[in-house]
């Protein structure tokens, strides 16, 4: 074992993959922005890093990619680093203990759950920092709910729970199909119990 990996939590392969997942988060976000799609795709790298490398790597990739995105894309990203950490924790727990990516229906259920979680976790930040708005089409839903007399926090939480599952389900499905279609020889290099448990790799023997 080298001196670097002795002192580090990660081996060099993980250390080489993590920046690529961070860049993937930012590059995909950029592509989506360029294509003007009504989705974000800014957590795909976080989901992939969590599935391939585990929880600490997933949290670091999520937090670091949003810190970096706040400098190269938009400063508002910095407020949502907690949401990225929550995404990594959720994906790790669901993949490891519930095998939530074993089949397409399970992946869809995992994505819906992730969307609700992301909506609820980011709602207090949206209310406290941004006055309850996100600068997207989601504000129409928030306005509609608020006009019915709901508190602003409830309106943001409900609009998040309604709109985030679509985006997050898509992201989970993308990560799921990418890992399913990846060369097994490459995935073998990142072998871990939850990749086997979710059917991305065959169990040894």
């Amino acid at each position: 074992m080298t001196e670097l990996t002795k002192r580090s939590l990660f081996n060099q392969q993980a250390l080489a993959l993590m920046p690529l997942c961070i860049a993937l988060n930012i590059a995909l976000g950029g592509v989506v922005h360029f294509l003007k799609l009504p989705i974000y795709l800014d957590a795909t790298g976080t989901i992939l890093a969590t599935l391939l490398l585990g929880l600490p790597a997933g949290v670091i990739v999520g937090v670091a990619s949003f810190l970096l995105a706040s400098l190269v894309i938009s400063p508002v990203y910095v407020f949502f680093v907690g949401t990225q950490a929550a995404i990594a924790i959720y994906i790790y727990l669901v993949a490891r203990y519930l095998h939530g990516l074993l089949s397409t229906p399970r992946a869809i259920a995992t994505g819906i759950g992730l969307g609700v979680l992301a909506g609820v976790v980011s709602a207090p930040i949206i209310v406290l920092v941004f006055g309850g708005v996100s600068g997207s089409g989601r504000d129409l839903v928030t306005a509609l709910i608020a006009s019915s007399g709901q508190q602003i926090l409830n309106a943001v939480m409900l609009s998040g729970a309604a709109s985030e599952p679509i985006d997050k389900t898509l992201q989970v499905l993308i990560a799921f199909s990418l890992l399913r279609g990846s060369p097994k020889g490459l995935l073998e290099r990142f072998r871990n119990p939850w990749l086997v448990g979710n059917g991305f790799l065959k169990a040894p023997g």
Binding site: P19, S136, A143, G149
Partner: protein, 206 residues
């Protein structure tokens, strides 16, 4: 407002005003429109006080919009100029990053452009083969086809890069980077940073 205008002047002098204007156009303006929609139309309607932006709501929305704009300008002014590729390692080392954290930070910064270039390559190749057109709908439909080669590139690149780092003795090279002692102690620096973050949080949230 004056604080923000001052920041805009400094951003112009540093040469990153266009980055801030991009933020204003694509993020800040939609946020302001959202604030007007929610606080000017929806909430007065929900409170049965009629439509329109009352003075309290107008003050609140203006305050939120101004502090988001000022915060964004401050963040860009403080950090973006430090992240030029030629000074990246020196800057991050001065911030106290060492070992794997330094590798992670530098690699992330430099790989963003590589990956964007790769995305462009894949898209251009598909357009050249006649598999995609240049219109938006066609590009949307190409997204799934584009992601697979991108992931394979990411995985193979990670494997190659880790082997390269081992062969080139990355840890030895990192250990050779001189550690410059700045003024003051580490605990004082941490206290100053914690105070600044607390002040910023209070300004944004209270």
């Amino acid at each position: 407002m004056l604080f923000w205008i001052g920041l805009l002047l400094l951003l112009y002098l540093v040469g990153i005003l266009s980055l801030h204007l991009h933020f204003l156009l694509f993020v800040w303006v939609p946020l302001c429109l959202g604030l007007l929609l929610v606080w000017g139309v929806a909430i007065p309607a929900g409170n049965s006080a009629g439509f329109g932006l009352g003075s309290a709501e107008a003050y609140r929305t203006a305050l939120i919009a101004l502090r988001i704009g000022a915060f964004a300008a401050l963040l860009q002014l403080c950090f973006v100029p430090l992240l030029h590729r030629s000074e990246l390692v020196v800057t991050l080392t001065a911030w106290g990053l060492r070992g794997s954290a330094l590798v992670l930070a530098v690699a992330s910064m430099t790989l963003i452009d590589d990956l964007r270039y790769r995305v462009d390559q894949v898209m251009s190749a598909r357009i050249a083969r006649g598999l995609a057109a240049r219109n938006t709908l066609s590009r949307v439909l190409q997204l799934p086809a584009m992601l697979r080669p991108l992931l394979v590139f990411v995985l193979t690149s990670a494997v190659r890069r880790s082997e390269l780092w081992t062969h080139r003795g990355l840890e030895r090279r990192l250990a050779q980077i001189p550690v410059e002692n700045g003024f003051g102690s580490r605990s004082v620096s941490v206290l100053i940073l914690a105070g600044a973050i607390a002040w910023l949080a209070a300004s944004l949230l209270l």
